[in-house]
């Protein structure tokens, strides 16, 4: 089966720090494809083009609420509705790794693809007048001049809690496929049949289960561990000098 690169985002771990947002913007505004426009960055109504946003939702009713930080970027859908509608062919999905990209040299800025994305993952660049979206850092992940451990999207590199996993969701042994399998990974808005490649891991209850053998070293390999001392109840509990 072909490759499908994707992100898996663990909502149980994300703390909403926006490190992925700034790292994404920093990497992608400095690349070969040109800058990501900003307007009024220090003014009253700053606005700009971003590939990735972190949003916050409150689930439940006070006082029983949970805060869910929710990073959102292009999901690199396996059946992307944004691609077939593009009249110029500027929007395309790569056969070799499933990344959905926009060819900025072909795009006419008609915005039809943005209408066709149910997730609002595409943003027009207000100065270059072409459509932009997450590229999965296609200019990083194959860069042989980087050490292999750094050939990951900028957001994944930046995440301080490792809430973002990156890999091939078609490879059942990849870290992302395992995470989806083991931790209940799910897709957004499954009702539209877009089959997003990116998945999210749900919030979970954090519990500690203690077993007896974890309290005492029953496997005591060198037979050194004895029983815990159990002094008599009448024995003095303070030291000699004060227990008279």
């Amino acid at each position: 089966m072909s490759k499908q690169l994707a992100l898996v985002i663990d909502l149980n771990v994300c703390v909403g720090c926006h490190a992925c947002v700034t790292s994404c913007k920093e990497w992608n505004t400095s690349g070969e494809a040109g800058f990501l426009s900003d307007d009024n960055p220090y003014g009253r109504d700053p606005t700009g083009t971003f590939f990735n946003r972190v949003q916050t939702f409150e689930v439940g009713e006070f006082p029983n609420t949970q805060t869910v930080h929710f990073p959102k970027s292009c999901l690199h859908c396996e059946d992307p509705p944004c691609v077939p509608v593009c009249p110029t062919g500027a929007s395309y999905k790569r056969a070799e790794d499933g990344i959905v990209l926009v060819d900025y040299d072909k795009c006419i800025g008609c915005k039809y693809c943005a209408w066709a994305c149910p997730y609002g993952a595409r943003e027009i660049d207000e100065h270059q007048k072409v459509m932009k979206k997450c590229t999965l850092c296609v200019d990083r992940i194959y860069d042989e001049s980087l050490p292999p451990a750094e050939r990951k999207p900028a957001c994944v590199m930046a995440c301080p809690t490792s809430a973002r996993l990156f890999g091939d969701v078609h490879d059942p042994e990849s870290v992302v496929s395992q995470a989806i399998r083991d931790s209940g990974g799910y897709a957004l808005m499954p009702e539209w049949g877009t089959h997003p490649a990116n998945h999210y891991l749900p919030r979970r209850k954090t519990e500690i289960t203690l077993h007896r053998d974890e309290l005492e070293r029953v496997d005591n390999p060198l037979k050194i561990d004895g029983l815990l001392p159990k002094p008599d109840v009448r024995a003095p509990s303070l030291d000699d000098s004060t227990s008279w």
Binding site: H18, R44, D45, P46, T47, G48, T49, F50, R53, V54, Q55, T56, F57, E58, V59, G60, E61, T67, V68, F70, K72, P81, V83, P84, V85, C86, P87, T88, G89, A90, K106, C107, I108, G109, C110, K111, Y112, A114, W115, A116, C117, P118, Y119, G120, R122, E123, I124, E126, Q128, K129, V130, A187, L188, M189, P190, E191, W192, Y200, P202, R203
Partner: protein
């Protein structure tokens, strides 16, 4: 959705142009069948100039929608998958057919050639309606648009507008045709009223398939957005929200229903009874205003699921 004015002008102007062409050809076809007398050659050739002017104006408006109009030629590339691309191809081909039809009338007069060219033109006009309508109807998650009624209404409203113009034109150029043309116009307009009404009724009962629960994948019934990730606006907050009040929407809805259907129909009756082209022209202009409002409402009514992610700034 936020209405795109260039697209509103594009669709209403080319709709009227296509409708007018169908009206011109119907006049020729009926005369060929011997139902009525053949109108003058000027009715056709100058009529085609009018058709081309409307289509040209629509085409011009469409360029204002593009961020990079100088690359517009590229948009013909993906006709296998994109209805927008198909529209981009069919529009100029239809314009060429209309021009050829008008020219043939001017040079050779009505005959087999004009009949064939006009037939091809009508087929292209109908195809163009389908392309334009499908641009909207093909997007499944814009549920308000995702219905055959969208295509039907683009067709019927365009024809109503074009037939009304054709009747005006007949009053000026081919008086013998006036009563028949007026009757056809009334018929098409009433059909458009029924179908547009059906679309309004359908959309009023529509329940969105996407909810904030499916948007973020949390099943709890109470979810409130606390931050959208930025304080200023973005493309997502600008292009997908219309920002108008419910009352204003209702006003526009009733406004366009009045301007597109009963008022022009009343003027149509008066104009054809008096055989006065200025009254009919007023009817056309009034209805065109109404059609602008109709298209505006068409956009505003569509609720894009991406809006679920932009419910609260912070």
């Amino acid at each position: 959705m936020r209405p795109a004015f260039s697209v509103i002008f594009l669709t209403t102007l080319i709709g009227a142009g296509q409708g007018l062409f169908v009206a011109l050809y119907s006049a020729e076809f009926g005369a060929w069948l011997g139902v009525w007398a053949m109108p003058s050659e000027q009715y056709f050739s100058l009529g085609c100039v009018l058709v081309l002017a409307l289509l040209g104006a629509g085409l011009l408006a469409s360029f204002f929608h593009l961020g990079r109009p100088e690359r517009a030629w590229r948009s013909a590339a993906m006709w296998r998958s994109s209805w927008l691309s198909r529209e981009v191809i069919v529009l100029p081909v239809f314009m060429a057919a209309a021009a050829a039809f008008g020219l043939a009338h001017h040079l050779r007069g009505a005959g087999d050639l004009t009949l064939t060219l006009g037939g091809a033109g009508v087929a292209l006009a109908l195809l163009l309606f389908v392309c334009t309508g499908m641009i909207y109807a093909c997007l499944p998650f814009l549920q308000e648009w995702h219905t055959p009624l969208t295509v039907i209404n683009y067709l019927l409203l365009g024809c109503a507008s074009g037939f009304l113009l054709g009747t005006t034109w007949a009053a000026a150029q081919a008086p013998a045709l006036l009563v028949t043309a007026a009757a056809w116009t009334a018929g098409v307009t009433l059909a458009a009223l029924v179908m547009r009404g059906a679309a309004l009724a359908r959309n009023a009962r529509l329940r969105p398939k996407s909810t904030v629960q499916t948007a973020i994948g949390v099943k709890h019934p109470r979810i409130a957005q606390k931050a959208q990730g930025f304080m200023g606006g973005s493309f997502n907050t600008r292009d997908f929200f219309h920002g108008k009040s419910h009352a204003w929407l209702r006003l526009v809805k009733w406004g366009f229903l009045l301007l597109v259907f009963p008022l022009p129909l009343a003027l149509l009756a008066a104009g054809s009874a008096l055989a006065s082209w200025p009254v009919l022209a007023a009817a056309f202009l009034l209805q065109y205003l109404g059609l602008l409002a109709e298209r505006w409402f068409f956009f505003v009514q569509a609720r894009h699921p991406q809006n679920l992610y932009y419910q609260a700034i912070s």
